[in-house]
Symmetry: C2
Subunit: 297 residues, 2 copies
Amino acid sequence: MKTDWIAVDWGTSNLRAWAMGQGGILAHAASDDGMGSLDRDGFEPALLRLITPWLTADRTEVIACGMVGSRQGWFEAPYRATPCTPLDSASLVTAPSRDTRIAVRLIPGLKQAKPADVMRGEETQIAGVLALNPGFDGVICLPGTHSKWVHVSAGEVVSFQTFMTGELFALLSTQSVLRHGMTGGDWDDAAFDTALSDTLSRPERIGAKLFGLRAEGLIAGLDAGAARARLSGLLIGVELAASKPFWLGQEVAIVGSEALAKSYARALVTQGASPRLVPATDATLAGLTAARAQVTA
Amino acid sequence: MKTDWIAVDWGTSNLRAWAMGQGGILAHAASDDGMGSLDRDGFEPALLRLITPWLTADRTEVIACGMVGSRQGWFEAPYRATPCTPLDSASLVTAPSRDTRIAVRLIPGLKQAKPADVMRGEETQIAGVLALNPGFDGVICLPGTHSKWVHVSAGEVVSFQTFMTGELFALLSTQSVLRHGMTGGDWDDAAFDTALSDTLSRPERIGAKLFGLRAEGLIAGLDAGAARARLSGLLIGVELAASKPFWLGQEVAIVGSEALAKSYARALVTQGASPRLVPATDATLAGLTAARAQVTA
């Protein structure tokens, strides 16, 4: 079973690679050699540690997306400006490598001038959603550390907006005074729904509602599972209030299948939307495959 | 110059003490033996390290406010329930001590049942504002890690609300992805004003505006001083949007004199309010003195 090419998703914290053949995935490997833990000379060895078993004497093409193409990555793949297609074969950047068995190409991220915004990695997932859903016209939501809402029309990224929701949840639940009441207990869907509805309709309440979690823990014995669900609901509620121009009355695809994506779907359903879920890895691989097809076309 | 009594402000990070005589302050001492760094047996020695020079064979009364009275403090002084006066001599709690030269009394914090909220230390500053401004009726704003807005009428705390604004600023500027663009440069008042106005009128924008600081740093060279001022303006804007029922058309006193309090004052002035500034230490000392006067009355 010959490896035709290698697909790589290389983010800040993780590196994932797939050996791709005629029939699809032949093998998969992953490590925690994320961009954040490597210096410039560390990328090629980190990649080779994962993919050497798949290489032959011939040169194998590697196509990679994510933070690997940032200024702090292996080599900078400059942002392309929206509006534009999520991928453009002419804009792939070759990363310098010594090993003659590989040729590594990096997919550039996208930038939007006003309001200023950037993405890196999500453009590939957007291309994947379009590949998996030909003719898709609407909005793609990519929940995560930095959630993105992307308006897609006629195969182009028209505009997008990033929210720090996931990073705020992580900071508040592990680094702030709220951390004292966040461990243990069971997730509480009703608490999520109420909190979401609170900040979706009155987003300015977020600051006070946050400290309320601490106060209720101190004087009213708030359960930790309910507190976590409420924190998530409060933060996602503010995001949905601000992203309403994106999702209201639109076809919405959510990239993800884990608990977080399901929370977004649950929230949107309460607002009358009918989002479809696209598993994140499916979107990434379909996008990398689309990039590969453009190169060989 | 005999020490009549000793005033103590004991927070999470710091311990401050004043030797008080007939004419006012005789001496001042401070250390970083905050509540957060002490176990239960560490409080008395930490206090004695500071105040021993002021003690005599006679027993000296110590009156303390702040986190020293929390469950994790020297001894728990249970919250009093609002509406109530900020101080009540009958509710002072005696902290157990071995040294016969001191008698330590702790001022309890306040709690509000609905919406759930708590304060510890601020009740003393509120009493101080009332002592320094007899007959004050209106709203007291206490900016800080956990900013408080307090509605005071007829000498009582009627209601209050806490915002995590200061803690969010600290987390976002030092722990989040925004930390990359926050160091250096000069504070930019115009950037503060614009950001404040943005989220005061459209608080739901906060999530997207936050990531915008990072994106503008990456693709438009946003200056770090302007980024810091904008982050502060965005967060205070959301707080002012939510606290509008407190400050709109009210007499407002801001406890504090440092840059943060001045930022709040600047923000309120843009909204047509005319806040007065009360230096924080003046408020704390006036409050502790009022507590002492109640005890000896």
